[in-house]
Symmetry: C5
Subunit: 365 residues, 5 copies
């Protein structure tokens, strides 16, 4: 059974716009259902205390009272429209935001809704066996006292961050919610470095393939990898803008003290894009190597033809000469005439082979 994924490239366009024709604001999860039961994990904390809870359904979300002022709510699985509506209402989110969270084919972007910021970031998982990436849309909503994260399925991405938050006396708790938001975004951007490594290794592996067996299948593999790369690049590129906006916006949700940290993530984002461009250059080189290998293969093929011709044509001529019907044919009556002629053929062949060998060696140096 073919694994079906969301639309990131023309090769995966099936569900491009399931929603076309519906009025805006209709909450339908566009994407496949990836997690059996959606899970809402919530952490409420201030400098001194932290409480964790799992909210099973829409009712629980509405009922739940946060014991501490700051809240981080993380959702895995988006197919329960009731639950999503409850979360949207509780935190006062705009219908379009809810729609974008569910419609998981968004470009990375940041929208400022005054009371909160809405970020869309795409994460990728590299599958070594199919040499392809799988995309996840992560929505991050940053309010004055809450951070909401929405994922299509459990990824374990935020586990390290959660551990740091659980540590009593962590800066993450004392420094305000914008510090937590920074941590979330930093975690997401850092994942791109792992991805760049995987793509780079795959490209290098292809370099050898292209040089050794320039078959059309290899060309396809190169093209496929290029598409995966461009998909990632297209998701990484707008991150510059997202983070640039965060860095430049003054007097917003992010305090002056967090600004240098955001600038630092922005630097990482620029670095990621540069590394992706490196991999793209590398793939361009692989294509060149492929095309050049095809040509070299032809050269070798023609060389084999030349060698064959060189070895057999002169011998055939010699045989033809001694097959002429002249009365006085040299060696014709000699006892070893036949073997002399065979010897002549072999000498010629060896001589020509020697010439050929020297010429070839000179070229290969």
């Amino acid at each position: 059974m073919k694994h079906k994924r969301k639309t990131d490239s023309p090769r995966k366009r099936a569900t491009t716009n399931k929603k076309a024709g519906l009025p805006p604001g209709t909450l339908v999860h566009v994407g496949e259902i990836r997690t059996p039961v959606p899970a809402v994990q919530v952490m409420s904390f201030d400098t001194d205390a932290l409480v964790e809870a799992v909210l099973p359904d829409a009712a629980a979300v509405t009922r739940w009272q946060a014991p501490h002022p700051r809240v981080w709510l993380n959702v895995h699985g988006l197919q329960d429209a009731e639950l999503m509506r409850a979360i949207g209402q509780r935190f006062g989110l705009h219908p379009l935001v809810m729609e974008d969270i569910l419609n998981t084919g968004q470009r990375p972007k940041i929208d400022d809704y005054g009371d909160y910021l809405y970020c869309v970031i795409r994460m990728f998982t590299w599958h070594e066996n199919t040499r392809s990436v799988e995309a996840d849309q992560i929505s991050v909503i940053i309010g004055r006292e809450f951070v909401l994260t929405f994922q299509e399925r459990p990824t374990g991405l935020f586990e390290a961050l959660r551990q740091r938050l659980r540590t009593p006396g962590a800066q993450l708790r004392s420094r305000g919610i914008d510090h937590l938001a920074h941590g979330v975004i930093d975690t997401l951007v850092d994942r791109y470095f792992t991805l760049v490594d995987a793509l780079g290794s795959a490209a290098e592996a292809m370099e050898d393939e292209a040089a050794e067996s320039p078959a059309p299948a290899v060309l396809r593999r190169i093209n496929n990898l290029k598409h995966e790369l461009l998909t990632v690049r297209r998701a990484a590129w707008p991150l510059r803008e997202v983070l640039g906006t965060l860095v430049r916006t003054e007097g917003g949700i992010f305090s002056e003290a967090t600004r240098p940290y955001l600038r630092d993530i922005l630097d990482h984002t620029l670095h990621v894009v540069e590394l992706l461009d490196d991999v793209r250059d590398l793939l361009g080189d692989v294509l060149n190597i492929y095309l050049s290998s095809v040509s070299n293969r032809l050269n070798q093929e023609v060389r084999v033809l030349t060698v064959l011709t060189m070895l057999f044509l002169p011998a055939t001529l010699i045989a033809g000469i001694f097959g002429m019907n002249f009365e006085t044919l040299p060696w014709a009556h000699a006892t070893h005439g036949f073997w002399l002629s065979i010897g002549l053929m072999m000498t010629t062949a060896v001589l020509l082979a020697a010439i050929l060998w020297r010429r070839e060696r000179r070229q290969r140096t």
Copy 2:
């Protein structure tokens, strides 16, 4: 009979400028007549009520009294100059706007005439059998209390929107005319996703063709598809500007509440352009595959030549050897001499074929 279309690419340039030389403001429909009788559908509504009418001619347009304040007037077919003039006068449109509506080779654009906005958007229909797109120019005029849409022929595009408008209590009725205008533009932009799907499928189909039979006709088909794609891209690209202008303009026809919805369409437009770029990349790859297939074909051709030479040249040599006129020729007087020599030829051929086969298998891995 060849189907004639409007100018979207150099391959369809025939009617580029039928109007050249006429003074500006002359109402002539530049484009072919596509619909037997133009039809004017008009809907007048407010929050509570909606009246529909079909206006058959210019006189009816002038006479008609709108029972409700908000009006959506849609025109199919543009060849009745009288009718067009009546509409223009009734809604106070600038002569140049009327001219642009009729002159259906416009670039997508938005012009602000103070009391109303004039948008030109191009729609495309994909014809699977000719692997080409057909263009329609849709003109949208957005006033403070009316929306006018002009199409060259009935397309059924707006039927879903009309149904939503007919539903009593629909937001589309209560939220002001700018909400309807949003619906019209949203419908048009959403059509591009369908188109991108069709183009993407066509490109993928070509990938296989290019790999399997690299004939010049395939190259032409690739080029033709690329032209169709660039035609669409050239129509989609200015939509960014059109929607960007709508999003940025403050204090205009669009209310603050509709702004996020426009921003949403803008995001879709950016996404469309990206998907089109993906298809273009894919076509670039198809071209590479084509060229590489031509080279591979040559390699195979030369290999066949090499194999032939390898199989027959040595055997010919052996035959030549036993045709030499020596007195003491081995096997000459043996009863089965002839068959021994044939056996020698065959052994040589099989041996060489085995060497060849191993070499080939090594390369193909």
Copy 3:
């Protein structure tokens, strides 16, 4: 005799800078003399009346009294320095403007001299037989009460405009001189559409040539056409800036009412550049087709070689086999031995040809 033209591309660089070294302001016509006697046509008009005159020489220009306030003066042929100086003095033109009018190798541009605007626009005539364009520089000077047009030779470009002006009660007369200026520029921009058609047709014609006979001469023709295209594009591109400046400048010679008409021409200009880019893309494809045809030609050449080898090499082997000097050669003593062997050769040839034919047909599908 070779027809000599002005410098628009490196292939026609001869007269690039005849004036180099002279002090600025020296009136010398750089370009060839194209019209035997320069002709000055002048039209003086207001809403109700129009008077036309032809001024034969400098003295007539100085003497002539315009009976009506608005004047359109058109000059064919620029080689009479005396005449040009008289015109310059009468309308108070800056020496540099006069110099640029005569030095017909200018880039299209617009210069604002306060009292008047100076536009340079390049026109092109397509010569079907040489598949090349011929350039004309048209200078347009737009004052508050006059429009001056300077052409190197009579082109008949403005005849339609003149007819419209002669019509009593024409808007062109009543709406102010800026409306006439709009008409002049509109006429010039519209000519580009005809040119685009001609270039597009030439490019399409080459597509077939490139596919059928990929000789070096065809490559040269493709390159030449590309140069002509780039020449035109280089003249069309700055028109965007020229018209953009006209549209943006507020409170100048053009009234607020003419502004939308200028914006309309600007749209046409953008469209022209897009169409030229289409033709350029098409030429790029033609080049690809050419190169691919060269490769296909090689494939065919090698196939012929393969077929020849396939047909004759096996037969030669059979002949060799029956030429061996064995005592017991099959069929040697049979009456029809010879014809049997010939039959064997033919059977082999037919069999191999059949295999080849099937393989080829499979590839061509």
Copy 4:
């Protein structure tokens, strides 16, 4: 002996940074000594009078009293540090300006030092025999009452300007020093047109070479010419900025009246860059022609092989057939059997040649 030049391309990188490590402000001439004795020519003038002098050394520069307010000082040869320092002190130049004048590997630029402007412009001399350009850095300093020009060696560039200045009553004298500065820059920009002509001719000459003998040496020559071209383009490109700055700066050294003349030179600069781009396009085409010629050469090579095979293989078969050892061989006992067989061979050859000829002619059309 190899001629050594300054660093303009990676092929001439030797003296890239002779000064690296020295403190800024050290006056060392980086470049080779090109003129045996530096010469300082000075012209002092006002509207009515002009005095010329040659200042042999630093002392003379310090002593010299300008009899008239306006001064043009021109220096050939920069290796006399003493002399340069004297000039710098006399006109109050910043140490960095003096350093840049001597360090002749600068990019073209303009620096505003308040009291004076410092322009660096690069001139090129085309050497037909080596098909290469030689670079000269010309420094121009424009003060309120003086113009200083520094050249590495006498070039005779400014002789025409000097003659115009010597003419009594010349505008160049009466209109202020900015008019002279304009003349200097105009002279330098005009030289580029000559250069473009030379480069264009060289590129056209290569077009024929590439088509006729596609040897690797030709490819090298194409690449070399491209490098020269890019060197020139890199020097011409920043001139746009230099002149744009001059045109835009208001209330500086250049009076309002000179502004249009500067705008005129700016137009020339834009034109030069466009012409250089034309030559670059032309070289790109030459490269295509070269590569296509290599392919065509291969096609011809294979065609020769095919023709050879076609002519000799069938004849060999016929000879083989009549060499078979059948008892009843046709024509074997006929008197003219031998000649009949030779005739058969020739007929076959002529027939095949005819087929080949027709096929070839069909392709070449």
Copy 5:
């Protein structure tokens, strides 16, 4: 043993983000330890006096009293976290700055922290034997009274600068700390010229390799060099921005008098980028030469095949002719018949060889 380096290209991605997951502000040196013991060299000076010291550890840094107001502190080796923390605290550096200094994979950048500027610049060392560059990150912190420089290992880069500072009465001492900062940056930018020279020489060396032996290994070497070049370019490009920011910022740490010197370095940076682009163009040409050489090699291969066929096929035919079994074979009974036929073969061969030779010579000219 393979030498391991920091991540500058996808080929050296190993340590891309060792720190991923750690909270920001953790001081860990990301990079390898290059220097056995970190060394802190400090120079304290004013116009008249200068004191030097080496601070062995964190305690020494904290204890040390600067005898003069201006301080230059240089660190070799970054692995001692204690020491780094002490320096950071003493000069009041932001934790992120400390982190960036240690995390040696930064893009070149400049951050303004109000009291001080933080610059990251990358230096490269060219290794001739591996034809690769090794990167060092140099961090420069410019405060109002101090300059701090951090290097991963001793490079001897600043030795010349230190000597100039030691000279009594040097401008470097009297002109303020911004003059020293200029000297540091100038030294770093000047190193790029040396690097450009090395890369250019390597590229030129490859030009010959590519022309003479177009083996796949050469293509790999070309690609590798291109990667090294792009790595350097990617580090040089942001320097424009770094220096542009320094030049533009008014009223900061750099005084008005130092501004022209910074503009001078900016010019050098632009020049470096241009020279790198030259080398890149050169490498592009090398690639073209490589590909063209592969084609030429094929042409030669086919030519050898043609020559072989030309020499042996006609002779084989002649042998076949005299091997035909006709009763009346010319020369059959002549004494020297055999040698006559051999002579005929040789004559044919010589004749054809002559034709071939002339044809070849005509092509090679």
